[in-house]
């Protein structure tokens, strides 16, 4: 383990930015989101959760797939280039790192998504321990240790130092770039801080949810549960929960008319939307109840059935925090028997 004086954080970031794109949390107009670091930009490592999850650097909200250009009577197809620039997402929280693991199962499983694969291949993740977890957090039931998040590098901002523990080969290469600033440190140096975090987590209302009720859930039984009839009453069918979710993975493919052709691009989609999976015959889920149910069936039943039981939720609590109608996945899990 290494440590860097917090006063040298800017030097560290500038050094990294010299060889790769650095994305980190930046506060703007009262909200914090991951953005591109440049000299002079102030990083915000105090805010626990960014509004948008950092999955966007691997799965952008919208990205071009190819362009069709009309040239006389011909149409030329120009495929979009794969990402080839190295980057680091600096300060990802443990929940969001687990979110990437879930996306990997979908996008790196056969058939491999080449756009995602290229970004994953060029991206390094520095995970930051959560000094002050919030009351909406519930990552522990999903196996996340917010005091010791595992990514390419694990980081702790504790006292006057930034502590760095490289975990993977890619992480070691990254910390190697920072050698001039590094001092040796010991795991003991962050032990007390980690203990403090664990104690804070224990005091949170959702920290010890038991997910046993969802294990081996019978798909049809859950699907046909009367719970769905009323649990979505307050849902206004917006896409907030989907777009702030680190595991939501569905996209739509659309064409953009450029005047002399078209750009075919894909964009994050939300199963809450009326045109989600719209097909020639119409929409397979005609009511909000069905669309609402889809979101939670996917996360709590469908995904686990293909991923060895792993739920497609990481307990980040963004939906708990942001739903306009105070609905969220915990409420749904509880109505399905979680306690």
């Amino acid at each position: 383990m290494y440590k860097v004086s917090a006063t040298q954080l800017t030097d560290v970031l500038n050094t990294l930015a010299g060889t790769m794109d650095v994305f980190l949390p930046i506060r703007k107009d009262g909200q914090t989101n991951f953005g591109l670091y440049a000299e002079g930009v102030q990083a915000d490592f105090d805010t626990l959760k960014t509004v948008k999850p950092p999955k966007e650097f691997f799965l952008p909200q919208s990205e071009s797939l190819y362009k069709g250009v009309v040239d006389g009577k011909d149409i030329h197809i120009e495929p979009a280039a794969f990402a080839d620039r190295p980057f680091v997402v600096f300060g990802m929280r443990g929940c969001d790192v687990l979110g990437m693991e879930i996306l990997d199962k979908v996008y790196l499983g056969e058939p491999v998504d080449r756009f995602y694969e290229a970004r994953r291949g060029h991206g390094c993740v520095v995970a930051l321990a959560c000094g002050r977890p919030a009351s909406t957090c519930f990552c522990k039931p999903f196996g996340v240790d917010a005091s010791d998040p595992q990514a390419d590098v694990t980081a702790w901002l504790c006292g006057q130092y930034l502590y760095l523990e490289p975990v993977t080969e890619r992480g070691r290469q990254l910390t190697h770039k920072l050698e001039p600033f590094l001092q040796d440190a010991d795991a003991e140096d962050v032990a007390e801080y980690r203990q403090e975090i664990r104690e804070r987590l224990e005091a949170l209302p959702y920290n010890n949810l038991s997910l046993d009720a969802l294990k081996d859930a019978d798909m049809l039984e859950v699907f046909n549960s009367p719970v769905w009839d009323s649990v979505c009453d307050a849902c206004i069918a917006c896409g907030t929960c989907s777009y702030v979710c680190p595991t939501c993975q569905c996209y739509d493919i659309k064409d953009y008319n450029t005047g002399d052709g078209a750009i075919r691009y894909r964009t994050w989609d939300s199963c809450m939307y009326s045109d989600f999976t719209l097909m020639a015959h119409g929409n397979p889920r005609k009511t909000q109840k069905e669309r609402f149910r889809q979101r939670f069936m996917h996360k709590l039943v469908y995904h686990p059935s293909t991923a060895g039981g792993q739920l497609s939720c990481v307990g980040c609590g963004r939906c708990v925090n942001k739903c306009p109608s105070s609905l969220n996945i915990v409420k749904i899990m509880k109505s399905l028997g979680v306690s």
């Binding site: 107009d29 919208s62 708990v320 109608s325």
Partner: protein
């Protein structure tokens, strides 16, 4: 007041005058009550009313009016304007609604379940009285936060150079994630099929592809609710990125006030809106094109 509302709701359900009661339900967090339909008296212990009951329930009455029986709905003073406007637009079946006006001392702004002060709309609130109700449950002891100038923000923007103003909106709107929460929560946005959800047109978009597109979405929406927006502030409340959407709507309200005379959408259910009441024989053109170029 909460207890009074529970008793009232209980009576309405017990004697069969109401099929359901639309109110706010307790959740795991005091600061995040959930809009909810109550049909059983036993559930009314979950009915809450406090400063965190910010959700404007008027929009839910569109759907409630299509169900059998009468729905009791609790409305704060500002919510009643939305309700009236929806009655005016024939979206709510007035006969199937029993409106209970409830006092409001302002709603709290909540971040990460923490109370962080007042919602902006409550700091500039001008809607102190209920404009529609069947019954009132009042608490005179509630006091409102000190009022600020409702159009102060708009006036400040008007004072900027056009490029500065452009940069301001560019900054605000570029953070939009196109979750459509502003549109879906808006009582005035009650089109059955929104142009932004139609696959037939190039306007259909879920992506924040370009800032141009973001501006289109928000500006088209603002113009579509022009003259109908009651300034209930729900759009700004629910925006996950805290975009100052109220400024966009209020600019149009201010322009309408200045061009056509003071107008408050939802004040009543009869008066035609200034943008829908033009009479070519008697009304003079405001000639905005000529005066502003």
């Amino acid at each position: 007041m909460q207890e009074q509302l529970r008793i009232l709701a209980g009576k309405m359900l017990a004697d069969g005058r109401a099929a359901r009661v639309l109110g706010w339900k307790r959740t795991d967090f005091e600061t995040a009550p959930e809009p909810s339909f109550f049909t059983a008296q036993d559930d009314l212990s979950e009915l809450v009313y406090n400063k965190y009951c910010a959700a404007n329930l008027s929009g839910f009455m569109i759907g409630a009016g299509k169900r059998d029986g009468v729905t009791v709905v609790f409305l704060k003073p500002c919510d009643t304007y939305s309700f009236n406007q929806l009655v005016k637009e024939h979206q709510i079946d007035r006969a199937k609604a029993y409106v209970v006006g409830v006092s409001c001392g302002g709603n709290a702004k909540v971040e990460e379940m923490e109370d962080v002060g007042w919602l902006e709309r409550c700091l500039v609130c001008t809607k102190h009285d209920h404009v529609v109700y069947d019954e009132l449950v009042l608490d005179e002891s509630l006091s409102r936060p000190e009022a600020q100038d409702r159009f102060g923000g708009v006036t400040r923007l008007e004072g900027l150079q056009s490029l500065e103003r452009y940069e301001f909106w560019q900054g605000e709107l570029s953070t939009c994630i196109r979750c459509n929460a502003c549109r879906n929560v808006c009582p005035a946005c009650n089109c059955k099929k929104c142009v932004f959800d139609s696959a037939k047109y190039d306007t259909a978009a879920k992506a924040n592809v370009t800032t141009f597109e973001e501006q289109l979405f928000h500006i088209i929406r603002a113009y579509h609710v022009a003259g109908r927006c009651t300034d209930c502030g729900e759009c700004a409340r629910v925006c996950p990125q805290d975009i100052k959407l109220q400024l966009l709507n209020r600019k149009i309200i201010k322009d309408i006030n200045e061009l056509y005379g003071e107008f408050q959408a939802g004040q009543d259910t009869e008066t035609l809106g200034p943008l829908t009441a033009f009479n070519a024989d008697t009304d003079a053109e405001p000639s905005i094109v000529h005066t502003r170029g």
